[in-house]
């Protein structure tokens, strides 16, 4: 009669450790999956991101358009500002948009309007990427579109030194006009926008 060989003890211990590790990883993967499934709801939320509430705040000047008299007014604001130059420009514009999307907005923008990102490219180039809701819901008219453009560019350029030209994209792509009038097909010269801002501030 033949006797079955005995399974080595260390092999059994290794197997047990592997089974426990597998069970642990399965549970971790299950929890991760639940977290990922919950993410799309937040991605579809088109409301603008609020500036981070934590972090050091800084006093900046936002140039806010006012439809009632067609003016551009410099308004001081204390907002949390990150240290990165590019992130600072994005936060500036998000703070500006939070004013335009407020119920008592002096220059209302459509629901879901958002600045997707701002890219700063040396030497002196800024690219502002708006989302499609920003452009698609924007009111049409020479002055109303011009106020928006001047507000965005002047706010970024005054608070971010050394920017000479600015391009505005929509959803990362070129677009002819903002809403039928203001040209988006070329780079804006910051010095020309500064002169326009002076004209628009004179309307107050």
């Amino acid at each position: 009669m033949r006797v079955a060989p005995e399974i080595p003890r260390q092999f059994l211990i290794s197997l047990a450790v592997l089974v426990v590790a597998l069970a642990g990883m399965s549970m971790y993967a299950w929890r991760m999956r639940k977290a990922v499934v919950g993410t799309p709801a937040a991605a579809n939320d088109t409301r603008p991101l609020a500036p981070p509430v934590a972090g050091p705040t800084e006093r900046v000047v936002l140039f806010v358009a006012h439809d009632e008299d067609g003016s551009l007014r410099g308004e001081s604001a204390q907002i949390p500002m990150p240290s990165g130059r590019q992130q600072r420009a994005e936060e500036l514009l998000r703070a500006l948009l939070s004013i335009y999307l407020d119920k008592s907005s002096p220059h209302p923008l459509g629901a879901g309007a958002e600045v997707r990102s701002v890219f700063l490219v040396d030497p002196g180039v800024a690219v502002i990427d708006l989302n499609s809701a920003f452009a698609d819901t924007h009111r049409s008219g020479v002055l109303v579109e011009e106020l928006t453009i001047a507000s965005l560019i002047h706010t970024v350029s005054v608070n971010t030194p050394d920017i000479m030209k600015v391009r505005i994209l929509v959803d990362g792509k070129e677009r002819d006009t903002l809403a039928g009038h203001a040209d988006l097909s070329s780079f804006y010269e910051v010095s020309a926008v500064n002169q326009l801002a002076v004209q628009l501030q004179a309307a107050q």
Partner: protein
């Protein structure tokens, strides 16, 4: 059978009946409809056919006088090639493949014996893309204008005694002249004459109280109403027609004055040309007025029933009338609901070497009028004789600011709220001559003011007065 008297009588009666029937058919038939096409290459008429309650025209026949074109039928498909532009049609479909994209048009494409027929109403959509330039369709009157070919006119009554009605045209004209008691009729069968701002012109004269413009079946007609016998005479290289009262002696000698029917007009010695001080010989119009938007581009939706593109056309026509009444030759770039890109608008104004380009916009939020000059984008410098397209306006900007300041001052004189601004508004930056944009808004909250003729005229007359005042300062624009 023998030819008996009763049979002969019946035969004669049957023949007479047939003749009467034929006469009734021919007399009762509607006159054949035609589409008149005006272009730089040729002016011509094409017969229209009725299908499915619409007027149709052969597309190949329409394009043949304009350039190199051919077409090929392949089953239900019909491919047309005009120079390098290819269009694919399919019988019974209201969509074609044009410039690599699907293009919808009103009505259906029809293929009859390999002949491609398109609805007349579709020409406003198809032809600008096929020909690569502006096309204006007067659908109701079956008139098609290819390119900036329209001839505009002004009418004014001189202070002579007896009074003289003077029509000034922006190009030579050759109308058929006919008279009948109480009116003189000028029929423009081959001239691309278009309507003034108002089809009825009144002159406040007992002898010549009014004139009316109408167009239909490919012809434009001006009827001068008069209480006395009048005659027409031509001058200024057939650009001026004077309507004068006939004296008794003249009435006897001048057949056109009293004879009914069409008679040739009587050319006379050239009169003083209409005021046109354009120094540039290649300039056809001193001012180009551009009714912004049009076609698929509605501009601002001013109200549920009012689109910016419709208001701008009316304002542009009114401005043309005001400018021409001040002796300034004027072209309205978009005189119908046509699609016209900003590049095309700039190309036409630059090619004409117009001394001033005026873009007309309308807005729901005022108050009053905003005047824009170009805010130049960040662009390349000119290279030798070649100008940067995006900053072509740079050299002419001082002229534009002169015009804008003059318009601003004149509007203020008339108590209209006004504001001057630079604006990133194309095609102002692409123009090589003086260029301004007007954004006309109501003076208060009442949006209906935008369509009120008195408000429109108040604005356009102020603009025209200002342009006339700085006329000489704009002539030097490159």
């Amino acid at each position: 059978m023998r030819w008996t008297e009763p049979l002969r009588g019946a035969g004669v009666a049957a023949m007479a009946g047939a003749i009467v029937l034929l006469a009734l058919v021919f007399l009762g038939a509607a006159p054949e409809k035609h589409l008149t096409v005006y272009s730089i290459a040729a002016n011509y008429s094409l017969p229209l056919v009725q299908r499915e309650g619409r007027d149709y025209v052969g597309l190949l026949e329409l394009l043949e006088p304009l350039g190199k074109v051919n077409a090929r039928a392949d089953g239900v498909r019909w491919r047309l090639r005009y120079y390098r532009e290819e269009v694919d049609f399919q019988a019974g479909k209201s969509r074609c493949r044009l410039q690599g994209r699907d293009t919808d048009f009103p009505g259906k494409f029809l293929l009859e014996n390999d002949r491609g027929l398109v609805p007349v109403s579709s020409l406003a959509v198809l032809l600008p893309k096929i020909l690569g330039g502006p096309v204006t369709l007067h659908e109701e009157s079956e008139r098609l204008f290819v390119g900036s070919i329209s001839i505009h006119f002004t009418a004014s009554l001189s202070a002579d005694n007896p009074p003289r009605l003077v029509f000034n045209f922006t190009g030579p004209v050759n109308p058929g002249v006919s008279t009948e008691p109480g009116s003189l009729r000028l029929a423009f069968t081959r001239d691309p004459v278009v309507s003034p701002a108002s089809p009825t012109l009144t002159f406040g004269s007992k002898a010549i109280p009014s004139a009316t413009f109408s167009e239909g079946n490919g012809i434009a007609v001006v009827v001068v109403n008069s209480t006395v016998p009048v005659m027409a005479s031509f001058s200024n290289d057939r650009r001026t027609i004077s309507i004068t009262q006939t004296s008794g002696a003249v009435a006897q000698n001048a057949a056109p004055a009293t004879a009914a029917g069409t008679t040739p007009a009587v050319p006379t010695a050239p009169a003083t040309p209409a005021a046109n001080n354009a120094s540039n010989a290649s300039r056809r119009y001193f001012a180009v007025v551009d009714a912004s938007h049009g076609g698929d581009d509605h501009g601002e939706t001013l109200s549920t029933t009012l689109l910016e593109k419709d208001v701008t056309v009316v304002l542009a026509r009114s401005l043309r009338q005001e400018l021409e009444s001040r002796g300034i030759t004027t072209l309205v770039l978009r005189d119908s609901d046509a699609n016209l890109s900003v590049d095309q608008r700039a190309v036409f104004a630059n090619a004409d070497h117009a001394a001033i380009y005026i873009a007309v916009h309308a807005a729901s939020h005022g108050p009053g009028v905003r005047i824009y000059t170009a805010m130049l984008p960040y662009g390349d410098d000119d290279h030798g004789p070649f100008r940067s397209w995006t900053t072509a306006q740079r050299g002419a900007l001082p002229f534009s600011q002169t015009a804008a300041s003059a318009v601003s001052a004149e509007l203020q004189k008339r108590q209209i709220s006004v504001r001057m601004l630079a604006a990133p508004l194309r095609p102002l930056n692409n123009l090589t001559g003086a260029a301004i944009g007007l954004e006309v808004a109501p003076s208060g909250a009442d949006l209906t003011q935008l369509t009120a003729p008195d408000y429109q005229q108040l604005v356009t007359s102020a603009v025209a007065t200002a342009i006339a005042a700085v006329h000489d300062q704009l002539g030097g624009a490159p």
